[in-house]
């Protein structure tokens, strides 16, 4: 077998193989296209989409979580502020109540003091009056007793009259 002859055979495309290759390739393209590539590519694409979607939703969840966290913090801050406000209010109320009570107590005390003072004064006046009356009564009794003893004898009467007369003269 001559090498030129072989080379010629090597680069001469055979009609039969061209014919069969064309038929088989086109059939293969149609069959694989319909029964393999279409479902496979669709499946791969839908998986890629589902992965993409999963990643996106994870990202979204992350964002939501952050938002939630931020929201929580806001709520917490609000709660804290409210608590502070409440505490302040309570403190104010307490102060107000205390002040009011103080004022009330003071006025009451004043009132009590005043009335006590008035009563004391009244009692004192009454006591003074009674004392005066007693003293007067006593004085009268003493004076009566003295008069009785002084005027029990004529001498003493005379002396008294004399004395009284003396005083009168002096005046």
């Amino acid at each position: 077998m001559n090498s030129l002859f072989i080379l010629n055979a090597l680069v001469t495309p055979g009609v039969g193989l061209i014919f069969w290759t064309s038929i088989v390739f086109i059939l293969l393209l149609v069959l694989l296209g319909k029964f393999a590539w279409k479902p496979i590519l669709a499946a791969i694409k839908s998986r890629e989409e589902s992965i993409d979607e999963a990643l996106k939703s994870a990202e979204k969840a992350k964002l939501e979580m952050q938002e939630l966290k931020a929201g929580n913090e806001k709520i917490l801050a609000e709660a804290r502020a409210e608590r502070d406000a409440l505490l302040k209010e309570a403190r104010d109320t307490k102060d107000a109540i205390i002040n009011e009570a103080k004022t009330k107590a003071k006025s009451e005390a004043d009132r009590i003091l005043t009335s006590a003072r008035e009563q004391i004064t009244n009692e004192k006046n009454a006591a003074i009056t009674e004392l005066k009356n007693q003293v007067a009564t006593l004085s009268i009794e003493i004076a009566e007793k003295i008069l009785r003893s002084e005027l029990s004898s004529d001498d003493k009467q005379k002396a008294l009259v004399t004395n009284l007369m003396k005083d009168v003269n002096l005046n």
Binding site: M1, L17, R47
Partner: protein
């Protein structure tokens, strides 16, 4: 007959696929060839009783009408394949077994009143009487070459290459339809398993890196075509590495069809900008007489380069392996065999890479040509396309 002819190779191919003895099988097979060539040189022009390595090499590379397994001459074990001839009187179909392993034109097969001989795997109408070498052919000398003068019918036979094409097509359909089914049953929410996990990255690679990367907008339309081209070339490159496999992707008829389809797909889908660039190149008008023919020829040279690249790469790889093993017969010494086998093994491993690489390059360039023809900014794109072509 035909069903049997296809079924048995499937079994064998699968057997070799899973036995993993790709490289180791090659030398053994060659030895058989070698032995017989020494005994059997009977074409009358080569009187030496030596192994004709060139002949052995090209027997492996070229197509044949029977699927040879082992053994030589009349003891050879091969699967007969259907011979389909379009003669002047219509279709003639018979088994290649009827030639009884004869490829020298000495055995005549008579069908429908027509007589045929097989000479170097080409079927000719047989002459009435044999010549001095017993060949039913009229040989004519042309320089140092001897050619049969006989007419040849159109040969649509299921040759070894055609049979492998059928097998690979069936294997592809089985693999990918089962993968498609797997997606249906497991749904898209689960991770790929088994075959899926091997092929899915390749499919995604073809879709994203080759189709999307080179075509851009509207790439989806071409993905099935590119996937089919990629996997058909890949599977046949791999089958070609198996010792009994046929060298389909190293056959110029096969690469011719694929590149013609690329040519058609490219030019049918080409947009106005593409044709504008070719017929009215962006250059001074006085250059147009030179540029327009160049651009028009460029339409054909791109797929032509595709055709030659795949054919030459695959054929070259096979020739190197066979030549390395052939060294044993060239030096007629068994001592050389460790070196031969080591180098052949190395080249075989390299060929495994080349099998993927060439499938990738063919698909990538096809996508690039389509991209250049359909791009919106055609001018820049088509130039970058041409540069990329040259760099490979």
């Amino acid at each position: 007959m035909r069903a049997k002819a296809i079924f048995f190779p499937i079994f064998l191919v699968l057997f070799f696929l899973f036995s993993g003895k790709v490289a180791a099988g090659e030398p053994t097979e060659l030895e058989h060839h070698g032995d017989s060539s020494a005994v059997h040189v009977s074409d009358g022009h080569n009187k030496e009783q030596k192994v004709d390595i060139t002949k052995v090499a090209f027997e492996h590379i070229l197509d044949s009408h029977s699927w040879h397994l082992f053994g030589e001459g009349h003891d050879a074990v091969s699967i007969p394949l259907p011979v389909i001839l379009k003669t002047n009187n219509g279709l003639v179909v018979f088994s290649s077994g009827e030639f009884h392993h004869d490829t020298h034109g000495t055995h005549v097969v008579e069908k429908n009143g027509e007589r045929f001989v097989n000479f170097e795997e080409t079927i000719y109408y047989a002459s009435e009487t044999p010549n001095v070498h017993g060949q039913y052919l009229e040989m004519e000398e042309n320089g140092s070459e001897w050619h049969p003068k006989n007419a040849a019918p159109l040969d649509f036979s299921i040759t070894k290459n055609v049979a492998q094409l059928f097998i690979s097509a069936i294997v592809l359909i089985l693999i990918f339809s089962s993968i498609a089914k797997a997606y249906k049953t497991t749904g898209v929410t689960s991770a790929p398993t088994g075959k899926q996990s091997f092929f899915e990255p390749l499919i995604v690679f073809v879709r994203d890196d080759l189709a999307k990367g080179n075509i851009g907008h509207g790439y989806e339309k071409y993905v099935p075509y590119l996937l089919t081209v990629f996997f058909l070339i890949l599977i046949n490159n791999v089958f070609g590495l198996i010792p009994i496999g046929a060298n389909l992707t190293g056959n110029i008829a096969f690469t011719l069809v694929l590149s013609v389809i690329t040519l058609i797909v490219t030019n049918v889908n080409a947009n106005g900008a593409y044709w504008h660039h070719i017929l009215m190149p962006p250059a001074p008008k006085w250059l147009w007489p030179i540029l327009i023919p160049i651009e028009v020829v460029g339409i054909l040279t791109k797929p032509f380069a595709l055709m030659i690249r795949l054919f030459a790469n695959m054929t070259a790889g096979h020739i190197i392996v066979i030549s390395l093993v052939g060294l044993i017969f060239f030096f007629e010494s068994l001592a050389i065999s460790p070196i031969s086998v080591a180098f052949a093994l190395f080249i075989d491993v390299l060929e495994c890479l080349v099998a993927f690489l060439q499938a990738y390059i063919f698909t990538m360039l096809t996508a690039l040509f389509i991209g250049a023809a359909t791009a919106d900014h055609s001018h820049d794109e088509s130039h970058s396309g041409e540069h990329a072509t040259e760099s490979h």
